[in-house]
């Protein structure tokens, strides 16, 4: 079956894929997860490469199969699949089995990479930077406080948009070869580095908060710092015992009200 005419994908087609990749999880479902989003995102490629209705239907059907990965890292798969679809169309192969095979092979490892680097570490680390700017900012200078959310979204956008836009173009340019380059990344190493960064931020925040907010215990600021460290340790102990944040919060409210009734403060 020869699928003619065959076009090369343009940068505009790939730009359309970038835009549509933002809707990858719009119809996330428990059966085939991100399949509809993936098919929606790759649609410009299908439209450009498959003009014959039968070939187009086949392409839609193969991209409606189960798909689930990290939403940011999906961009790399989209780029590689676009390349493989193009190669298959140029060869007159409307099955494009290689594209399906590579898609299935890449989604698991990239999901793990994205979950560790973006969800588990980068987002909390940058949120911590933003929150620190707010908590320790000077409320007489509003712009300093506003810097918190701006820093968080700004720095995070560089990290995720870089991958989401660059991933599609790079995936298309390198094709399957990109897998070799991805092997060079060590998510654990990145996670450890971000973990150290968060540890430093937290080590500074625990004493800085009571000092900057003027906590005093028995008229001593240092005892205020010790009290904060003890409270953090106590809450941490609760979290380690698998008590949720919500229950810890309600428990704290209950204890504080009881303490007030008992006249303890």
């Amino acid at each position: 079956m020869v699928n003619t005419p065959v076009f090369r994908l343009t940068k505009w087609t790939l730009t359309a894929v970038v835009w549509r990749s933002f809707f990858l999880q719009a119809c996330w479902n428990f059966q085939r997860m991100q399949n509809l989003g993936f098919c929606f995102a790759i649609s410009p490629v299908i439209k450009a490469l498959h003009r014959a209705p039968r070939a187009r239907q086949k392409a839609i059907a193969r991209h409606l199969e189960f798909f689930n990965t990290h939403p940011y890292c999906a961009s790399i798969i989209l780029g590689v699949v676009a390349k493989l679809e193009e190669q298959a169309a140029q060869a007159g192969d409307d099955e494009a089995r290689e594209a399906v095979r590579v898609k299935i092979g890449m989604m698991g490892p990239l999901a793990a990479l994205g979950d560790v680097v973006y969800w588990a570490m980068l987002r909390p680390a940058l949120a911590l930077v933003g929150v620190s700017l707010v908590l320790f900012g000077d409320y007489d200078q509003v712009w300093l406080v506003v810097l918190g959310p701006i820093c968080f979204v700004g720095l995070y956008s560089i990290a995720h948009l870089g991958l989401r836009i660059g991933g599609i173009f790079l995936g298309y340019k390198r094709g399957v070869e990109i897998v070799k380059e991805l092997h060079r990344f060590s998510p654990q190493q990145i996670a450890r580095c971000l973990s150290f960064f968060m540890a430093v931020m937290l080590g500074m925040a625990i004493p800085a908060y009571p000092l900057l907010k003027g906590w005093r215990v028995l008229d001593s600021r240092m005892l205020g710092v010790v009290l904060m460290a003890l409270l953090v340790g106590l809450m941490y102990f609760g979290l380690r015992r698998r008590i949720s944040v919500a229950w810890l919060f309600y428990g704290l409210v209950g204890l504080a009200i009881l303490a007030a009734y008992a006249g303890l403060f």
Binding site: V131, S157, A229, F249, I257
Partner: protein, 253 residues
């Protein structure tokens, strides 16, 4: 009433960013606190409330088939309730924030539960997608995919509407009738809430043996403050410089 509807629409639109569209993080409490704060005329306090709630649920994200409570909804509702209580009714800021947070946590839990239901409903959309594609081609796929946004918008709009309509009324009634001991208790929780937030961060990084680093930085800052009492910024800068030196020295992680 008008502003409640508009705030609910805005809240529901930004909630789409949480897991469905973009995930640009504009739905995060830190950001939405600023947006609602600016709209309600108190930008710094809006951001402050958002920042505290951001820390409390800093590591919670829907990953794969795991759908946690949507605490970004909790964040948005807390900011609006608190600023309404403070600015329109003159209640104390810290007490109002803790009361509003206590009332808003169920909103996030409800949103999470309804999200799970919506993802089950989306299975039907997925099943219809192939017949839609046969009929309308790629346009059918686009309809099926974007149709998933409708229930998500509606669910969060109704949650915001419920919490901002009867919710504000209830919060005002509660705030006006609280005994002084309850007011004192809530005020105390406002001051120690960052301790819970810091413990949440500690839990994320503890598995990488990072608590030794935390202890090292904590005691360094304490020591520097003993040497230069009152020079908090100087102590923090010195600790940061020390940490940078460690990063440079230990190139391989």
């Amino acid at each position: 009433m008008d502003h409640i509807i508009w705030l609910s629409v805005l809240g529901a639109v930004r909630a789409l960013d949480y897991a469905m569209v973009g995930q640009f993080m504009v739905s995060q409490p830190l950001v939405i606190g600023g947006i609602f704060g600016a709209l309600l005329g108190d930008l710094p306090n809006g951001i402050l409330i958002g920042a505290l709630i951001q820390l409390l649920w800093i590591s919670i994200m829907p990953v794969g088939a795991y759908v946690p409570p949507d605490y970004t909804v909790t964040g948005g509702v807390t900011v609006i309730l608190t600023l309404t209580l403070v600015r329109q009714y003159g209640f104390h800021f810290g007490t109002s924030m803790i009361l509003a947070l206590g009332m808003s946590i169920p909103a996030g839990i409800l949103s999470g539960k309804l999200d799970i239901a919506a993802r089950h409903f989306n299975v039907r959309l997925d099943q219809r997608a192939e017949s839609l594609a046969g009929k309308y081609g790629l346009t059918g796929i686009a309809w099926a995919n974007l149709a998933g946004l409708g229930p998500a918008f509606l669910r969060n709009f109704l949650i915001y509407l419920l919490w901002l309509g009867p919710g504000v009324w209830l919060a005002v009634k509660l705030s006006g009738s609280m005994p002084p001991q309850v007011v004192k208790g809530l005020g105390l929780v406002f001051w120690i809430l960052p301790a819970l937030a810091f413990a949440v961060v500690l839990e994320i990084i503890a598995k990488d043996r990072a608590h030794w680093w935390i202890a090292a930085v904590f005691f360094s800052v304490g020591l520097l403050l003993l040497i230069w009492p009152g020079e908090i910024i100087l102590a923090l800068a010195a600790a940061l410089a020390g940490a940078t030196a460690v990063v440079c020295w230990r190139r391989k992680w």
